[in-house]
């Protein structure tokens, strides 16, 4: 066990760090998003491309984030300043703010999970059995998608306060302890659910759908796009959160092996979730494919509740499923709040003050998404796609500082995994970015013919390139103006000595 060094926060053990980065990576992206993506992208080919994306996209980017955090002992804004000069501070701050903006609406989902957990414990499944499957759709509509969604907002506030309470206790007292319990629990709960689900008649059809391969799918660009996006979303590569957790890593912490462990641990959680959700739907729904196409929120909160209500042992399955989802989502939210806090602490804020500041920001900005599902969808698109840009900035920064230099000085000396190509491939990320983002922009322009540049009202133009560019630019301009002040104050690194 590593000792805490005077003057700085540090993880007490390597297992604490691994549990924490896994907690950051494993979230709703695995338990909800992965099964839906598998379903809508026709199964097996998508999963195989996901594996490829882990090797050539996720692992190199996570290594880049980790090495920046460990080398500078500063969060995103401070690290860009230290490694690339004062003029780059606003770029690092932009990367950090993307994650914070994303966190503001991600907490809304955590609030939804808490609401459904409370519904399960207050006899909702029995009501669904008596009242029919329409009841779950009705409850969902009234609760979350009809603005102003006041009850959803109240659960959102509770979720923010829970995350803030854990963060305020610091690295060892709060984050590390919480993740050491939550993350193994997620894997155990999913494994229990898997055994139960596979005992249902017809469940194996779900596995067959999930893993069947049609060679024509390898020639479909949208399957490749979806697989690479899923790998980024799910593993957390490019979010900047690995960066922040490695600010607290021990000096001899293994960057590449930890990146590999977190990435594949995340994929295992996603596969377990897929092998629970798809067989459950195929075993219990009269028209499984119609259920799959019903949309992200619908599958988890409406259809799975229906499925749990109409199966033997459904109460237990529902409790286990929503607890797993809650644990996974909470540990991801904790990482997002911590990212905001660490950036402020680098500017001299105390942890309690930084926690209050970030919590207030989450409450104010996230409230719009909690109250109005149209805003939620816009924020999901704008900041979700911005993750690709963050990844690009990290790649450019690594190339500018020296990919070879970082390998020789920081990655290789303390690594038990010497697979150099998995790091140096980061040099090619701008090409990957151009292909993925360029394709997305082209596609999204066709969704709004003649109106793709419009952005107001946000609910109407939720997915236009216009709203994306406007929101990105507003954030960039504000941070560019603040660049000098930020650079001047970013002098409080997390010194371990």
């Amino acid at each position: 066990m590593a000792e805490i060094k005077q003057g700085g926060d540090q993880f007490a053990s390597r297992w604490g760090l691994i549990a924490t980065v896994l907690g950051m990576a494993v979230g709703t992206g695995n338990i909800w998003r992965f099964p839906r993506e598998v379903a809508s992208n026709n199964g097996g080919a998508f999963i195989l491309i996901c594996f490829l994306a882990l090797f050539i996209w996720a692992v190199p980017l996570i290594c880049a984030e980790s090495v920046f955090g460990k080398k500078t002992r500063m969060a995103n804004a401070g690290a860009f300043k230290v490694l690339l000069g004062d003029n780059w501070t606003w770029v690092g701050a932009w990367c950090a703010m993307v994650c914070v903006m994303l966190g503001c609406y991600y907490v809304v989902v955590l609030g939804w999970v808490m609401k459904y957990l409370s519904l399960i414990f207050t006899g909702f499944l029995t009501q669904v059995q008596a009242g029919g499957t329409e009841l779950t759709s009705e409850v969902w509509k009234n609760f979350a998608t009809t603005p102003p969604a006041v009850e959803a907002w109240m659960w959102f506030v509770a979720a923010v306060l829970i995350a803030a309470a854990i963060i305020s206790r610091g690295v060892q007292g709060g984050i590390e302890k919480a993740n050491k319990i939550m993350i193994p629990s997620v894997f155990i709960l999913l494994a229990i659910l898997l055994v139960r689900v596979l005992m249902l008649p017809g469940a194996w059809k779900g596995l067959e759908y999930m893993y069947h391969v049609e060679l024509v799918d390898f020639a479909r660009p949208n399957v490749w796009l979806a697989a690479f996006t899923q790998a980024a979303w799910s593993s957390g590569a490019g979010w900047g959160m690995f960066h922040v957790y490695f600010v607290y890593a021990a000096k001899d912490e293994d960057i590449m092996l930890n990146a590999f462990t977190a990435t594949f641990g995340d994929m295992v959680a996603a596969m377990l979730a897929g092998m629970v959700v798809l067989p459950a739907v195929f075993a219990l729904a009269p028209d499984p494919m119609a259920v799959m196409k019903s949309g992200a929120n619908g599958l988890t909160f409406v259809n799975l509740t229906n499925l749990f209500a109409h199966t033997t042992g459904g109460f237990l399955m529902a409790v286990l499923f929503f607890i797993a989802l809650f644990s996974a989502a909470l540990s991801s939210v904790i990482a997002m709040v911590e990212l905001g806090c660490r950036n402020l602490m680098d500017m001299g804020f105390s942890r309690p003050k930084a926690t209050v500041f970030v919590t207030a920001f989450f409450l104010i900005v996230g409230s719009w998404s909690a109250l109005d599902n149209g805003i939620f969808e816009n924020q999901d698109m704008v900041w979700g796609v911005a993750l690709l840009m963050v990844g690009l900035f990290y790649s450019i920064a690594a190339v500018k500082f020296g990919v070879e230099k970082l390998w020789k000085e920081d990655i290789e000396p303390c690594s038990d995994m010497h697979v150099k190509w998995m790091w140096t491939i980061i040099k090619f990320f701008p090409i990957e970015f151009a292909l993925v983002w360029g394709w997305w922009v082209y596609q999204s322009m066709t969704w709004y013919p003649g109106e793709w540049f419009k952005f107001w009202p946000l609910q109407k133009y939720a997915y236009t390139p216009g709203s994306m560019v406007v929101e990105w630019t507003i954030l960039a301009v504000i941070l560019f103006i603040l660049n000098g002040a930020m650079a001047k104050n970013l002098v409080h690194a997390n010194k371990l000595d």
Partner: protein, 33 residues
Amino acid sequence: MWQLNMAVCIAVGFGAFAWALKRTMDAEKKKRG
């Protein structure tokens, strides 16, 4: 065919994760002497 793909995916995913955890445990043991 789907059974083969399932076996490959489980072997690669779970195998890589298990390998990484084992490697980490060995490194920790070595560090503690």
